[in-house]
């Protein structure tokens, strides 16, 4: 089971993206679990994460999160703006999976 965490500033926009990603997960029958978390709640949800993706608007968290997560072997990246903006679940999921593979 791969745990993907999506972070945005107040959880407004990511939930839809998570839905779309989940749709793809179902179609392809993947063993992936995706959660959307607001920036303020990251700390309390950090244990069960394998890949962390940041919304573009919380890009400023990147250095901090990398420092926190990469030692644990968790890759952290910012989602591509257009994929994010078009709510392209498939592409974002692919990106997350590719990050997980690199490990």
């Amino acid at each position: 089971m791969l745990n993907i965490m999506l972070v945005c500033s107040a959880g407004m926009s990511t939930s839809l993206l998570v839905n779309k990603m989940n749709k793809v997960v179902k179609e392809k029958e993947l063993d992936v679990n995706i959660v959307a978390v607001a920036e303020a709640d990251v700390k309390s949800n950090m244990d069960k994460v394998d890949v962390m993706l940041l919304g573009p608007q919380v890009r400023y968290l990147l250095p901090n999160m990398k420092g926190l997560m990469e030692p644990k072997g968790v890759p952290v990246e910012v989602v591509d703006t257009v994929d994010y903006g078009t709510m392209n679940g498939e592409k974002v999921l692919e990106y997350a999976l590719s990050l997980a593979k690199e490990l």
């Binding site: 926009s13 303020a40 608007q57 703006t81 078009t86």
Partner: protein, 905 residues
Amino acid sequence: MSRIKEVLDTLERLREENPEGISAIDVAQILDIDRSNISRYLNILYRDGKVEKLEGRPVLYRTIDIEKDTFKERNTPISKNKNSLDKMVGANQSLAISIDKAKAAIMYPPKGLHTLILGETGVGKSMFAELMYQFSIETNILGKDAPFIRFNCADYASNQNLLTAQIFGVKKGAYTGATKDREGLLKKADGGFIFLDEIHRLSPQGQEMLFTYIDNGFFRPLGETENLSYVDVRIIAATTEDPKSNLLKTFTRRIPMVITLPPIRDRGLSERYDFIETFIKEESHRLGKSIYINKNAIISYLLYDCPNNIGQLKSDIQLACAKAFLNYKSQNNNYILITQCDLPNHVKKGIMNINQYRNEVEQLLNFNYDILKFNQSEKPPLLMEIDKYTTEDFYNSIEEKLKSLKNMGISEQDINEIINIDIETHFKEYIGSISRHFHKEEISNIVDNKILEVVEEILLLGEKKLNKHFSEKVYFALSFHLERSINRIKNGEKIYNPKLNFIRINYEEEFLFAMKITRIIDERFGIETPVDEIGYLAMFFATDSYKFDKVEVPKVGILVIMHGKTTASSMVEVANSLIGTDHAIALDMPLNMKPETMYSIAKRKVEEINKGEGVIILVDMGSLTTFGDMIWEETGIEVRTIEMVSTSMVLEVLRKSIVGYSIDEIMEAFKNKHVYKYRSNVLEEGNNIKDIIVTACFTGDGASKKIANIIGKEISNKNIDIFTINIIDENNLENRLYKLKDKYNILAIISTISLDISWAPVFLAVDIFTNEGIDKLNNVFEENEMCLKISQSLTEHLPNIKDKKIVKEIRYILYEVEYKLGLKVSIDVRMGIMLHICFLIDNLIKGVIPRKFNDLEEYKKTYKKEMKILREIFSPIENKYEIVIGENEIGYILKTFLSNQISVY
């Protein structure tokens, strides 16, 4: 000249016999020259330091005693060996840095640096400029004959052609009214300094001409086509503008040296004391008499609120000196003494602050006697050219008037009163604007300046005639009232005052006074004030004694209801306290309160405050706007609603209600007033709108066309149109851009001068010609394409937002946020925030309750200004979608911007 020499010789010759000095009459008899001429010569000699005046009647003159003279020099060693700049008050303290900078600007090789002086009204910018000039002569950087040209851009601000012509000169026929060639001041200042005060009043065209000179050393007079004028002039510009203002950024970028002069409140009491001392000494020097001043009066001068700074302090001191001089003359006193009574009202209040500053004051005035003497023989450290317009002539005129009034047999008390009025009118400019300085700033946004001036004049007169002190409240209310009624009269609308007879009988004095001042109003505004209006004016003058409640018909009730925990109550508190009443009532509607609950509270309140005249409800937006009609239907009480309330609206309604306007009369002013402002900010419904770039220059034909050509090549493969427009009048410009914005999607504006446009990127034409500028422009295109893609797929995910242009709409808003917060975020962050806001709006329409922001109160305190800016920017969106974004979400948005900022403008 030889006559003057003759007078001097005579004085010298007779010195031995008349050690006490000789009067002008004696000299006139000896030389057989007209006495008034002799007096003039003596004054010149006195001014040149060749003779001294001795106290007494008649004034006696004698040549200056060499020994005493040396003593004097010893006594004031400061003035020796020091240059003009270092003699300034605070030269070693608050002005130290400014003076260093000034010297650097003057000495910077090869020709010095142009300088911009910033500071509030009255901090001494002109004086500083003049001292810089003197310094450069003292240090032989400029020759003795170097010119110093002073020019105030505000003097010609209403005629920009004339203004530019004054500075740069003009060729015959350059514009209507330019009937002959004329040399400009810049030319006259060749080899010296030009001091351009209130530089912000210079038109964009004038600015460009000035910058051309700064950059290249030449300029072209208006209408001159062939020859360039080369001059060598050091420019000192000055302005009261906020250094952060956009306009000023243009100047600070082009003018290398910027010197900021501190306001008097930041300069400490000891410097303030030095000023007081200097100014009294100056007056004493002018009068040729010592001036005594009561200790309490000095304390008042040290501690009163002095918003117009040193200039105000000086005129407030001059006023007191003039009054003291009058007493001395009319009552044949032996000395000129300034007491508390001679101080202007607002200065007198200074002593009330003594508890707060007792220790400091005691340290400063470290002596036991109650009266201080400023000896005429002590020269003030600096006597400025600038002061010439308030010279001894003013004292002479007091003296002459006193004499002639006495000859006419007028009683002493009346004479004093008459001359006191003269003195105060002389200083009126200061007193009027000063005592009401605080609110004037605020009101001038709402009420025409011309009206404010008249009201000041009227109240000043009123204070004399009716012998009462009018509070700022009256000033405020009367300004407000007058503006409205002048408009009514001009439009031929009727004014009816139901209390007219009551006022006429019970407030006769005020009514008579109102009749008198009506003449001023009629003359100034070209109207004929009807008697009913005179009645209203009289009510203002009687405000403090007139108890409306007891006799007045019931007033229209006022209820302010707004979203937010304290928004309505704080607005009402301001309005009530300014008008001096508790008539307006506030209802706060917390965000989690249901409209139904609020409705029943509002209904009860309306029933409670209705006194038969109806109730006006002022609301911000949303469901609240419907309350009025519903209550009216249910209760039968006449209820009117005003939407998008602001403090100034509450004030206007409240003020009118208090003086007894009917509900219809009050509502009339709001017929069309409040709608426009918001509409233009929101895109119209519509499908495909075209992307455009706007290029702007003065003519709309020259530079902007050229830019269009260049850009055109860059974007030939993109589906973008270019619009060229002219910038004749900047206000109008914004409106024209709004209109374009309604029809098209403005990607960027490229202009020859910087524009104060917040909602779209503005590039300077100059920058576009560099690679960096093109890169920036390309970023804009890139972002736009991103927007387009996102917009196409996004709108299907926003089920509750009908307007498909939401993405572009938000994009404007994000530019505005960046501009107004003075920061930038990267494109992807901006996109992210945009998405966030789109979903937020969608959710809010759906009725989802926003999340809480941790420690919101703390955050709001830290970022008070920023929160306010954001709330304002988002208010058109709130109105359009009938939602309340709320402080929690605003907090999130602000935080995202602040955390992601990449650079500061």
